[in-house]
């Protein structure tokens, strides 16, 4: 064809044209290569630091490590709260596609109760998605083996070995130690407000009540962390840096296992409380509220069946009778009133009154009866305390007047929290004119003062308050703050903890204080003393005061008949005491609900406790 021939003739021109285009093309190629190189230079040289940082941020994660919780020991170093490894089944919600399906598949492998699932789902909602959350705790060996064999089927599911709190003595120390449990939303908020949240990044448990709660900060310790390299799925590749956690401090209590066991044994099924303290420094030696319960139930989340059983039990095991129960102190406060009478010169050690078996206010028909209906006859302060003469104190109380009583007893700690190192504490009631106005919107009547003088009517105290107030008599006006913890320790150091005694009452005449202590001594020593029988043959020199608190109102001429009234309305038996008489190392209070007379019921229990304390316990030599 013609055109083709023409093309061959133009060969040189065509080659020039093509070569020209090739040069243009290669120039563009060169320019674009320069663009790539310039961009690489920007990324790799100019912005190197920025991308280097982001690359590190990708691969390096900081993993918090929870510190080990401090241990709790009794006074002789016996472990009361320990950390034991337990295996738990944990799920990371973020890594699980279909939660319902996984849960039902797991339920086919091991026993999982609907309650556990419910509680798990509740925690899933409350926590961050990438946190590992326990579905079932305390797996047994078989369950661990089954889960390990099937783990490949369930991404996001692990069997974790963790340290878990355990209370080896079960219900023996519950009301003092309290227990720990999972941190809940409210507690998390509180930690946030306190600026403590960061330190709890790896912690799951927190003290809920008792010492575990009061000393949460000390027991918890300081979180550690690991800088780890992870891949894009967050799997740990290697550990780059590790800052170990600092374990919480161990705490050492003044409590004694033997004394606690004695308390539990002597109380048996009797509802009540026993509390003992060293009056010299306020260290609590015994702290037992009966009935008690097993705190281990709470550590891994108590089942609602168990919880309801505890909550609705008629015997109220959750109730801390040592610090929360407010009982009428009854005659146990007679020494305290006697002291006020002496110090105010209202009576003297030799003052006597005639007790016909009752007391009457002027111009009033009502008879305030003595517990001995025929009367004690002529009574001085010694007899009045020793035999617990009501009439003597009716008259003394009326002479003192409510204002002086209220003020003085307030200084001894009545109506105020003692400041013991647990939060579960009631203040009790030390009535006053102002209190009655505020509480009942009524004026204070003289007739109110009469029963108050024998620790009845509005006056209520906790057993702990009773020994604190009694210790004031022993310390001649010094008020001790009761404390369960006597020392903190870590690996290196031990710090002793002993809040100093506080001056509370000015001493007018030291002899008066000695007289009061003498009356309590005679209550135990002298034949006819209300606590005499209980302490016959004791190897130590004890002093004390009994009390019997009426719960049921008895008609003016009726007689109290324990068998005739409801068991829950029977008298409370009370006792306060201390020993040795000349140099007290222990002051004790016993409160027994609906047990009857204090001398015959509460005093023998105090005797058991003191016997143990002075003969078998660690203080046997004192």
């Amino acid at each position: 064809m013609l055109k083709k021939r023409v093309a061959i003739q133009d060969f040189a021109a065509e080659t020039r044209l093509f070569n020209h285009r090739a040069v243009v093309a290669m120039s563009v190629v060169a320019i674009l290569f320069c663009v790539i190189i310039f961009n690489q230079y920007q990324l790799q040289i100019v912005s190197y630091q920025d991308y280097q940082t982001r690359s590190e941020g990708n691969r390096i994660k900081v993993m918090p490590m929870a510190p080990n919780r401090g241990l709790i020991y009794d006074r002789s170093g016996i472990l009361l709260a320990e950390n034991r490894p337990v295996f738990s089944l944990e799920l990371v919600p973020e890594q699980i596609k279909d939660m319902d399906e996984v849960l039902s598949a797991l339920a086919q492998l091991i026993d999982i109760t609907p309650e556990q699932i419910e509680s798990f789902l509740k925690h899933v909602k409350a926590q961050r998605r990438f946190n590992s959350i326990a579905l079932k705790e305390q797996l047994d060996d078989t369950e661990v083996a089954i889960l390990a064999a099937n783990q490949h089927r369930f991404p996001g599911i692990t069997v974790e070995a963790r340290l878990s709190r355990h209370y080896p003595f079960g219900d023996l120390f519950t009301h003092a130690l309290g227990y720990i449990g999972k941190i809940n939303t409210r507690e998390l908020q509180q930690l946030d407000e306190d600026g403590e949240a960061a330190n709890y990044a790896a912690s799951r448990d927190i003290g809920k009540i008792g010492l575990e709660r009061f000393y949460q900060r000390e027991l918890h310790g300081t979180m550690g962390y690991q800088e780890v390299e992870v891949n894009n799925r967050g799997r740990l590749i290697r550990v780059l840096r590790s800052v170990p956690a600092v374990s919480g401090q161990n705490i050492h209590l003044g409590l004694d296992v033997g004394l606690q066991l004695t308390a539990q044994q002597v109380l048996k099924d009797q509802r009540g409380a026993i509390v003992a303290m060293d009056p010299r420094d306020g260290a609590v030696l015994a702290f037992y509220s009966n009935p008690s319960y097993d705190p281990n139930l709470f550590v891994h989340g108590i089942s609602s069946t168990n919880y309801n059983a505890l909550l609705h039990s008629r015997d109220k095991p959750l109730f801390n009778r040592v610090t929360q129960a407010t009982y009428p102190p009854a005659s146990t406060i007679k020494p305290h009133l006697a002291l006020l009478g002496l110090e105010t010169n209202t009576i003297t050690p030799s003052s006597k009154i005639w007790d016909p078996g009752y007391f009457m206010l002027p111009n009033v028909d009502h008879r305030f009866r003595d517990h001995i209906s025929w009367g004690h006859g002529w009574v001085d302060i010694y007899t009045a305390v020793m035999k617990s003469c009501d009439t003597f104190f009716y008259e003394l109380g009326v002479k003192l007047g409510i204002d002086r009583i209220s003020e003085y007893m307030g200084k001894m700690g009545f109506g105020e929290r003692t400041g013991i190192d647990i939060f579960e504490e009631s203040s009790g009631i030390m009535p006053s004119r102002g209190w009655k106005r505020a509480r009942h919107n009524q004026p204070w009547y003289l007739g109110d003062t009469v029963p108050l003088s024998i620790g009845q009517s509005y006056w209520t105290t906790t057993p702990l308050q009773l020994i604190v107030a009694t210790a004031v008599i022993l310390n001649e006006g010094q008020l001790a703050t009761p404390h369960l913890v006597t020392a903190f320790s870590d690996e290196q150091n031990t710090t002793f903890h002993s809040p100093p005694l506080q001056p509370a009452i000015e001493v007018v005449d030291p002899n008066n204080w000695q007289v009061v202590r003498d009356t309590m001594h005679r209550t135990v020593k002298d034949i006819g003393g209300t606590a005499h029988k209980a302490f016959i043959g004791a190897s130590y020199d004890a002093a004390g005061k009994t009390g019997t608190a009426q719960l049921a109102a008895i008609a003016q001429d009726a007689k109290y008949d324990a068998k005739a009234i409801d068991e829950r309305l029977r008298d409370n038996a009370m006792y306060i005491g201390y020993a040795p008489y000349d140099n007290p190392s222990i002051v004790i209070a016993v409160a027994l609900e609906n047990a009857g007379g204090g001398g015959s019921n509460a005093a023998p229990i105090a005797r058991h406790m003191l016997d143990y304390y002075f003969t078998a316990g660690v203080n046997a030599n004192e």
Partner: protein
């Protein structure tokens, strides 16, 4: 046969097999570099290494086989190949296998086949055949026919939909027209038409995922865990490599799998991270060497058909390199283009080496009368 004999015995032996020594050296260097990087990028996966080796072997064999075919024969087969390719594209649309939301594959029973790969070769070859059968520079109506030959397969492939491949194929055809001496006025006019066409493309032809890619390219940080993740992680990998890199097998972005598609489309980021800017310059140097050698070969070819086909393949190869590096380093939106001869996998590697086979054929089959 009219062969040009060199003084060197070794080169003559290569010439006997129609192999261009420098180009082969460049390709082998690139493949060696690619295998080394793949070993790292695949996480030392020997199964992948073996598969890639086999693939490279097959691709090399295809290249050598095609290099034996004379350019005249290739020219004669250009149009039939193009027509057969068009038929296959239509067949794909009718009975094609649907994978990843696009009809790209033709199931032949024993293997799946992607007709668009054939068209990567057939379109420039056919356009070159048509243009070279007339005088250069082409007249306007030649150009119009040329554009039409590009447009039909491009639209068919775009409909699959495979926008990336369709654009690359159109580009390959247009390169032929450009190298043939299409006047600058027309080039500017066509560029204007394409710019005007872009909104139409955006509104009517692009799928949502494609639009998303472009939006992500414009602002990757807008969706750091979704579609922006790839490009962000890729830039982190590149940037954190610095001048000297983190060391072979030491790239944290790639070894810890923060970098997605690290052994396929994003393998360039692995090079950047582990070998730094220096490693990147070496790789770019090898690419530039191959491109320059191919362009040189095309200028040395005797026939217009050979020149145009070789020139177009050369520029298309460059476009692959540029688009891949551009998308990995954030210069271009993410389109599924592998880094030629380095990325793991694919039929595209065989196609690519077939193109190099054509270039070698052009280089080594020369008529005596053309020698000066």
């Amino acid at each position: 046969m009219n062969e040009q004999f060199d003084s060197s015995a070794r080169q003559s032996r290569l010439a006997l097999f129609h192999i261009d020594g420098p180009l082969l050296l460049g390709l082998m260097l690139l493949m060696g570099f690619g295998l080394m990087i793949l070993y790292s990028a695949s996480g030392q996966n020997m199964i992948m290494m073996k598969a890639q080796l086999i693939r490279l072997g097959v691709a090399l064999a295809v290249m050598v086989a095609i290099a034996q075919v004379k350019p005249q024969t290739l020219k004669r087969w250009s149009l039939p190949l193009f027509i057969a390719g068009l038929g296959l594209l239509v067949a794909v649309l009718l009975v094609g296998h649907v994978g990843k939301g696009a009809q790209r594959w033709l199931d032949l029973g024993f293997m799946k086949f992607q007709p668009s790969e054939v068209m990567k070769l057939a379109v420039p070859m056919a356009v070159a055949w048509f243009i070279s059968s007339h005088n250069l520079p082409p007249r306007l109506w030649h150009l119009l026919v040329g554009f039409l030959m590009c447009a039909i397969p491009t639209l068919l492939i775009a409909k699959q939909p495979d926008l990336g491949t369709s654009i690359l194929i159109a580009t390959a055809g247009v390169f032929v027209l450009f190298m043939s001496g299409m006047s600058w006025r027309i080039i500017i006019f066509v560029a204007g038409v394409i710019s005007a066409f872009l909104p139409v493309l955006w509104i009517f032809l692009m799928h949502d995922y494609q639009r998303q890619r472009v939006l992500t390219f414009l602002n990757p940080e807008s969706d750091p865990l979704g579609s922006g993740y790839h490009i962000i992680q890729s830039k982190i990998a590149i940037g954190s490599g610095g001048l000297e890199g983190k060391g072979y097998l030491q790239g944290t972005q790639s070894q810890l799998e923060f970098l997605p598609e690290r052994h396929t489309d994003f393998i360039f980021a692995v090079v950047s991270e582990e070998m730094g800017l220096l490693g990147v310059l070496v790789l770019l140097g090898v690419y530039l060497f191959i491109i320059a050698r191919c362009m040189f070969i095309s200028t040395q070819a005797q026939e217009n058909y050979s020149k145009l086909v070789a020139g177009s393949f050369t520029l298309t190869f460059f476009v692959y390199v540029f688009v891949n590096i551009g998308m990995v380093s954030g210069l271009l939106p993410v389109v599924g283009v592998p880094l030629p001869l380095v990325s793991y996998g694919g039929t595209s590697m065989v196609t690519l080496m077939a193109a190099f086979g054509v270039i070698m054929s052009v280089c080594t089959h020369k008529r005596m009368l053309a020698t000066p």
